[in-house]
Every structure is written in C-alpha cells, then in structure tokens.
Symmetry: C2
Subunit: 372 residues, 2 copies
C-alpha cells in the first residue's frame, strides 16, 4: 500500500536505513538535514511496488563516493535533481517516480530530496536491499535491467552521461573515475526502468522496513526494552528474518584509507574483558566479512552491522573509533540476493574474498546466539 512520509519520519528512517547500510551508505545526519530542508512541512508519496503501473517511468537517484569524503564534502543539494534532469534529457523521457538504489543513511534520503524538489513520488524498494560499494552490485542488473545510461552531476553544475551498454562494471569503473575527479563525491541517476521492471528486479519495501526498524529501536529505548529484541522482532516478518549476534566487545583498532574512491580498511573488536580472540571486520565502504580467527561468522551479501552495545545505534565504517563498545549483528539477506547470479555480482568473490558464501543463519557455529 502506498503511504506518505513527513519530516517527522526522517530520524527513524535514517536510523533504520543506516542499520541496513551495513556500515556504508553514508552518514544519516547529512542526508536527513538535506531532506528536512527541502521538504519543510510537506509530505512525500511513497509508492508500493505492487501498485506501480507496468509502464511507469522510474529513475533511481543516489550519491556515490567514499563515505569518508561524504562526511566532509557537503552537497549543495541541487546535484541529484540535476542528474535526474540530465538523464531525462538524454533518454527523451520524463521520470514519473524516483527510487533508491540502496539502503543507507545517505542513499535512502537522496531520492526523498529529489522527490521534495520535483514533486515526484518515491518507490518503496531498492536495488541492493542493503548498501554495496559499487554501482554494478544491483539486483536490477542481476535480473536484467542495466545501469546505462547513467547521468552524474557535480557540485559546480558539471554533468556527465556514461553509456557502457550492458557492461555495468565498466559503467561503475568510469563513473568512479569521474567521481574521484569531482573530489570524491558525485550524484547520479541510473537504472531507468519501468514499473514492471521494478517488480521483477528490486528488493521490495526496504524504505518502509527501514522506517519500521528505526521506529522500533526508538520505541524500545523509550520503554527501556531491549532495542536488539525490537530489531529481531521487526525483521522476523520481513524478507530478512534471521538476526544473529556475532560478537560483543570493544573496538580496539581501526585501519582506514580512502583509496581508489573507496573507504577501505578493517576494524578489530576485542572481547570486553580483553581475554580471547578478537573479531576482525573488513570493509570497502560497507562491512564485507566478519572473522574470528580463521572462522568466518558472516560474509557479503549477508548484512554485518556494527551497532552501539546499549542503544543499538548503527555505526558506519567511517565513524568507527577506538574504545567504542559495540555489538556486531549478522542479518540474513533476502533469497533473491543469494541466487548464483546474485552471488556472482556481490558475493564474496566479487570482493576478492576467498570465502564461500554460507548463510549467516547456518554459519554461526555452536548455538547461534539469538539476539536479545
């Protein structure tokens, strides 16, 4: 069912989307502020994917870049709509709705910003069901919609249109090069598709799920209940039913470099008492794999979420700091993200990880710790 979203929903949505961003997808603060400013006291229409007209013209919008750079290089706010307009002009078609390409603090917000500026509705779905670092890592692409042509806009009004046919990796490669030359952040419109194609290729209802997650965490805190229980309960009826606590401890080391246009590195999380093995989480914008010694506890595309040990507030990779007390959650991705074709696009091997994919719900050894 379609629904409306107002500025009052933004903090909950940002929190939930950042959790689903699995360490990446951008910091929620900036994203929320941009939408709040553009939206004022108006409301936005969020369209349920099942209710889209088959021939509806949907053009997703997003920010791309390294989250470490996004933190410091605040957009003017006009770039994503400029990217949309540039792609419309190139295609000779006008968008009837926009949509996120991923879940995340920034990229659940950018389509809302575009919607607030243009009056377009937003489709309640996305192409990653979480965040991934590369534009080719989309269920859209896995199930037959390609990203090209892609339009990219910079803060000084620069526009770039990239068309690599059905080669989405080459599209990512070229767009990343342009983004680096624009200072590390750019805004994009890509994967233009029909309403029917949304239904065939997107992960459905991730905006409403993010909002529900963020709200459940907030209400649990307010009622002095466990926000971790609230997360597990909210997800239990979704396409993400399995939540596992992989580890609890203290961040004792973080290595992070902004390289090739990405934030790459790893974090070490040690047991609270300092005794025993530490968890190592490797990331490229997003958390990719969580290892305890040689034992892999979770790996892409399952979600690895580092959150505050008490409040369950999600912590993005660029915000990880020595001394933070955290819990690390593993969350199962939807089955459409675990098919052989999907794993070829964004499974462990796509990140150069020499680890087979094993679902997090079967992987955690011993008695899988239920979250609570």
């Amino acid at each position: 069912m379609s629904w409306t979203l107002t500025a009052a929903d933004l903090p909950d949505l940002a929190r939930g989307a950042t959790l689903l961003g699995t360490g990446g997808g951008g910091d929620p603060t900036i994203g929320s502020l941009l939408v709040r400013q553009a939206l004022g006291d108006r409301s936005l229409t969020i369209l349920d994917p099942d209710e889209l007209a088959d021939d509806l013209v949907v053009i997703p919008t997003a920010q791309m870049g390294a989250p470490t750079v996004m933190l410091e290089k605040i957009p003017a706010g006009t770039e994503p709509t400029l990217a949309l307009r540039t792609l419309e002009a190139h295609l000779g078609r006008v968008a009837q709705a926009t949509m996120p390409i991923e879940c995340g603090g920034i990229n659940s917000m950018i389509p809302l910003l575009v919607a607030a500026e243009t009056g377009l509705p937003v489709v309640d779905a996305d192409g990653m069901g979480r965040a991934f670092p590369e534009l080719s890592m989309e269920t859209f692409a896995v199930y037959g919609v390609h990203g090209s042509p892609l339009a990219l806009a910079g803060e000084r009004g620069e526009t770039v249109v990239i068309d690599t046919g059905d080669d989405d990796r080459q599209m990512e490669w070229l767009a990343r090069g342009v983004t680096i030359r624009l200072g590390g952040v750019a805004h994009i419109a890509e994967y233009a598709m029909s309403g029917a194609q949304v239904r065939a290729t997107a992960v459905p209802r991730t905006l409403s799920m993010a909002l529900a997650l963020g709200r459940a965490i907030r209400l649990a805190r307010h009622a002095k209940r466990s926000p971790f229980e609230a997360i597990a309960q909210t997800l239990s009826t979704t396409l993400y039913p399995h939540v596992r606590e992989l580890f609890a401890g203290k961040v004792t080391d973080v290595q992070r470099r902004t390289r090739d246009g990405f934030a790459k590195g790893w974090a070490q999380i040690s047991p609270p008492d300092g005794v025993g093995q530490a968890l190592e989480v490797e990331f490229q914008n997003e958390n990719l794999v969580a290892r305890l010694g040689t034992d892999v506890l979770a790996v892409v595309p399952d979600l690895i979420c580092v959150v505050d040990a008490e409040s369950a507030e999600p912590i993005t990779t660029e915000r990880l700091r020595y001394g933070q007390r955290v819990r690390v959650l593993g969350i199962s991705t939807p089955e459409l993200m675990r098919t052989p074709a999907a794993l070829a696009a964004f499974g462990p091997a796509a990140f150069g990880l020499d680890v087979p994919f094993v679902p997090v719900e079967t992987r955690v050894v011993g008695a899988p710790a239920a979250v609570g």
Copy 2:
C-alpha cells in the same frame, strides 16, 4: 580555396603535421594507416575556412591520451565517428563538417578518418596551430567557443558526454580521468561550432600547410637539397614565418614517464663533439621549453621541433632515443596564439613554467642562426 585529398597525400601530410605537432600529437604511422584503410581510392573534400557558410555545423574530432600509450593501444577505428554521432545525438544537430583540434601525426588524421567513414568534408584549420597536451588549450576557447558538451568514445563502444558549461579546464580534467580509465586513449568530439565561429577562433589552413611542409621536405631530400631550407621557405609565406635552429647535437639522455594520463619528461641533447653545454628540452606530450643552461631558447606556445639531423624527419617525444643525431628547430606561432588571452591559456605559466614568453625570433641570442 577548397581542395581534395587522396591517400597519396597522406605520407606528406603526416610528416608535416608531425613536425607541427612539436613532439606530440601522436605518431603519424598509425594515423596514416587508419585513414588509408578507410579511404581506399576515394578522395576527401577539404574546405577553406573563408568559404564556409556562416551557419555550417562543424564538429571537430580527435584522439586524446598519452602518446606513449597511443603507440601500443591501436584504435579499432570506429571510435571517433562514434564520438561524433554521440555528440550529434546529444546536441540534436547533425555535423556538416569535421575539423582537427590540433596539428599532429594522429590528430591531423582522425578527422580525415571520420570524413572517410561519414562522407563529411574537413575544414582546413584547427584550434592549436600545433599540438598541446590539454583540451582547454584551444584558440577556440581563447576566442569564445567552449569545448562542452564533449563526447568521448572507447574501443568497446563506451560513450561519455561531459558538460562543464564554459569551464574548459574542468572539461579537460574530467575527460582525462575517463581516458585514463579507458586505458589511456580515447576518441572525442567537442567544440561544436558554426562556420562563422571557425573563422573567428581557428588557426586557418594548417592542414594545407602541413601537407606543403611534408611535401617540401620530401622533394628537397629527393633533389639532394637541404630539407631545412625547404622548411624555412615553405613557412616564410605562412602565419609561421620565423624558423630558427636552436641546437644541433646528439640525444644523450631521455627521461619519460606516463603519469596522470600524459607522457612527461625531458631530453638532453649534447653538442656533437661532446664539448660545451647540452640543450635540455622539457615536455608534457609536446615539447614545452628548450634551455641551454639558464638560457631559455624557446618556450610554448612557440614550436620546438626535434628532427633528424640529416633528413629533417620529425621525432615525437615518445620516439626520442639515446644516440639520435638531431637538430632542434624553433618556429614562431601565429600572432593570434601570442595575445595575452592566448598566453593565459597555453603560455609558459599554463604549464607551471616560471619563464616569461619571448618570441623565438627575438629570443635566440647572438646572431640567430638561420636554418639551412
């Protein structure tokens, strides 16, 4: 007056254009072969700039990249026409002629290749009057026509359209980034303009001049006359009337790196008897400055041409080798390339050289050696 060009003209044109390429502009071998293959026994129409209709749609075409890479990464041949077609589609206008953006072994040829493939005529003019390493270094831009939108094509059929408004340096910066990601070479269409704008902004008749130069060198060799005299005589009635021999000697050192998408470095040319100061020539794709100790003998935008000491065959920077016996010529650029606005775009400071521009005909100290 307009004229026709056939495959028989290509060796002379390539030789003359490579001389005017002043070390850059690409190796002539590959350029000639591409045109010869596409042209067969047909002929091309070369339009005199004075005879263009004011509203003629002219779209220049070129190759961009580091000459060191161009030597090894042979184009499929379809890329420049793809770039032209992409820009036409973006503009919603159809080209009625193409034109070089610079003189050089490759870039005097690419528009001929496009012409052979499309049937378009080629305008006898260009925007550099020599070769320069960057797309913003155009008399077109100096006199009010901007490069955007630019279309770029890669060998696998990738297309990119870049629009940076009137910021030609940002256009260069982004196009260079894309070119690097395409492997170091790409083909472009840019600086779309009218016939009237060609007359107002281009360096006229550089194709016919290159052909005349190449032919004069060949005929002089054949007649056992000095090809250096032939060069001076041919240029004496053009916009490039001053030719000076800056140095004669042997290449004793070359440093060259392909970096940031350019071939950067310097060559040391020592006196034939090994006694006395060596000439140092610094280059970024093209030769930028020729120094004897602290004495600057010639500097951009004047032409610094390293040629074989006997045959006067031009030697591009990527072909410089230890032991070559060479002469170094300084050739005056046209006055429209020496105005304050022109020097701001491609004078010494534009290359980070802390040297004032002094015309080569006044700069060579002592009795300027006439060439002969």
